[in-house]
């Protein structure tokens, strides 16, 4: 089966502005492969390269070496993003637009027909429980409401691949539960979910496979159950072992 998301020796270097410092290597020869229909967790400590990987997949940053593909299309082509949905960690949407206008705008970018657009807007606003606030500008929304609006925009094109960056960050327990439910629902519909998170408990619950990144390198990749069995501990401890964390003895 062809991977829905694939990186081949992906490398990214940032040139430092300081004269004495050389290039900073953010990613070293990363090889990832996400199969259709799976929920894939992308883990790593801060500065591991998760955000850089996301930036390359979304076309914000060009790779220095190697390549990345979505649906077998190079990520540098805009069409590669036709069938994906992206939910950023922090909500970045036009504050002067209403949720309804925002969804309509993004639907137009996806060239979804008007009748279909209206139907999806109604459906999504109901799903994320923003029907009552659909005509209000986003600047009047609470953080949770903005996050839910973000989830709606990530689903507007009925994506086959969902990229989520810390999807439960800043949400209350109820909000987190709703996000988990949505991810599981998407999985049951055959969608693929690729998300980065620091909430290892959540990852352990919902992910089929995980990859752990550290200092730009892929340290381990595999099914959650296989890793737990291999390391004989829970996912958090697997994570700590893989990144080489040694607890200080008191």
């Amino acid at each position: 089966m062809t991977a829905i998301l694939r990186t081949e020796n992906l490398g990214v270097e940032y040139r430092s502005r300081e004269l004495k410092q050389g290039a900073k290597v953010a990613l070293k020869a990363l090889n990832l492969s996400v199969q259709p229909g799976e929920v894939y967790g992308f883990l790593g400590p801060n500065g591991a390269g998760k955000t850089t990987t996301m930036n390359v997949l979304l076309g914000y940053v060009n790779p220095t070496r190697g390549a990345a593909y979505l649906f077998d299309v190079d990520v540098r082509e805009p069409i590669a993003r036709q069938r994906i949905g992206y939910l950023p960690e922090l909500t970045y949407y036009y504050k002067f637009l209403t949720a309804e206008e925002l969804l309509r705008f993004y639907a137009r970018i996806f060239e979804i027909p008007k009748s279909e657009t209206e139907r999806r807007i109604d459906e999504l606003l109901k799903l994320v429980e923003l029907e009552h606030a659909r005509k209000r500008p986003i600047r009047t929304y609470s953080k949770g409401m903005q996050q839910r609006a973000g989830l709606a925009q990530a689903l507007i094109n009925n994506p086959d691949l969902l990229l989520l960056d810390e999807p439960t960050s800043g949400l209350d327990p109820l909000g987190r539960m709703k996000v988990r439910e949505i991810i599981q629902r998407l999985k049951s519909e055959g969608k693929t979910v690729f998300f980065s998170s620091h909430e290892l408990g959540e990852v352990e619950t919902i992910c089929d496979r995980v990859a752990i990144l550290h200092q730009g390198e892929l340290k381990v990749e595999g099914r959650v159950s296989d890793l737990i069995q291999q390391y004989q501990c829970n996912l958090e401890q697997v994570f700590l072992k893989v990144i080489g964390y040694k607890p200080q003895l008191s």
């Binding site: 979304l58 805009p78 992206y86 970045y92 949407y93 002067f96 637009l97 137009r108």
Partner: protein, 260 residues
């Protein structure tokens, strides 16, 4: 094109949801009405003075709206990080840039039309004539001028901060309007290499005075000495060339810019 118009639609919505346009329009109306109400001598009705004041205010207000709206686009997208969910959609950076340009130009055009409608009503109420052809020409050319300025501002917005871009574009635009047409006269009185530099500058800068028909409207040349439609279309083509050049430059810079 649909994607470009989608981005343009958001820009237009932003303009009419901000206060800028309404404040400037009300100020223009109030100052014009104040000028019209001044009685210099009893029973002497003057209109050119009022027309000049109104057109000058329209020039400044339209420039302010166009430049601030445009200068704000890319820096705001970066600072508010709205560029990220936008570029995560199947839209290229060229399309985003063109969408911003079309949106800013259309928004400025709508604002300009409202200003000129007020001007036409005010002038017609005093002169009891409505030289429609002349007003259409002056509106069209003014809109082309704004297009050139907007394209220049967009180029600035992908390299400069909002404040720096705003300042530079205002100074350059007003400077061009005031002196660009006279640079060759100044150059003829200078020594080399200044004369050559000024001459080159004279030929390469966009001559915004081609789009400034205010004197013809103020001094009632509408009935006799209007530019031909061929001249208007030639000026339009001239403006479109500069718009294309600035947008191309902006696109080449923007497509290479890292967004993180």
């Amino acid at each position: 094109m649909n994607k470009i118009f989608a981005v343009a639609g958001v820009v237009i919505k932003e303009l009419y949801r901000r206060k800028d346009f309404y404040v400037l329009f009300i100020l223009t109306v109030l100052i014009t009405l104040l000028m019209a109400s001044i009685n210099f001598f009893q029973d002497i009705h003057v209109i050119r003075f009022v027309k000049e004041g109104c057109l000058f205010l329209i020039l400044l207000a339209a420039l302010a709206i166009a430049v601030t709206t445009t200068a704000r686009q890319m820096p705001s997208e970066r600072e508010n990080r709205t560029i990220f969910p936008l570029l995560a959609k199947p839209i290229s950076r060229w399309q985003v840039l063109l969408g911003k340009f079309v949106g800013c130009w259309a928004a400025s055009g709508i604002a300009l039309a409202v200003f000129y409608l007020f001007f036409a009503v005010m002038a017609a109420s005093r002169e009891h004539t409505l030289p429609l052809g002349a007003y259409i020409q002056v509106l069209w050319l003014h809109w082309q001028m704004l297009g050139v300025v907007i394209a220049l501002t967009l180029l600035g917005s992908v390299v400069l901060s909002f404040a720096a871009n705003l300042t530079i574009v205002f100074i350059v635009s007003l400077g061009i309007l005031l002196v660009a047409g006279h640079l060759h006269k100044v150059a003829s009185g200078m020594t080399e290499p200044s004369a050559s530099i000024l001459t080159v500058l004279y030929f390469i800068i966009p001559h915004l005075e081609f789009f400034d028909m205010r004197d013809l409207i103020i001094h009632d040349w509408a009935g006799t000495d209007l530019p031909s439609w061929l001249d208007v279309f030639s000026a339009t083509f001239y403006g479109l060339c500069y718009m294309a050049f600035f947008l191309l430059a902006a696109g080449l810079v923007f497509r290479r810019k890292a967004l993180n």
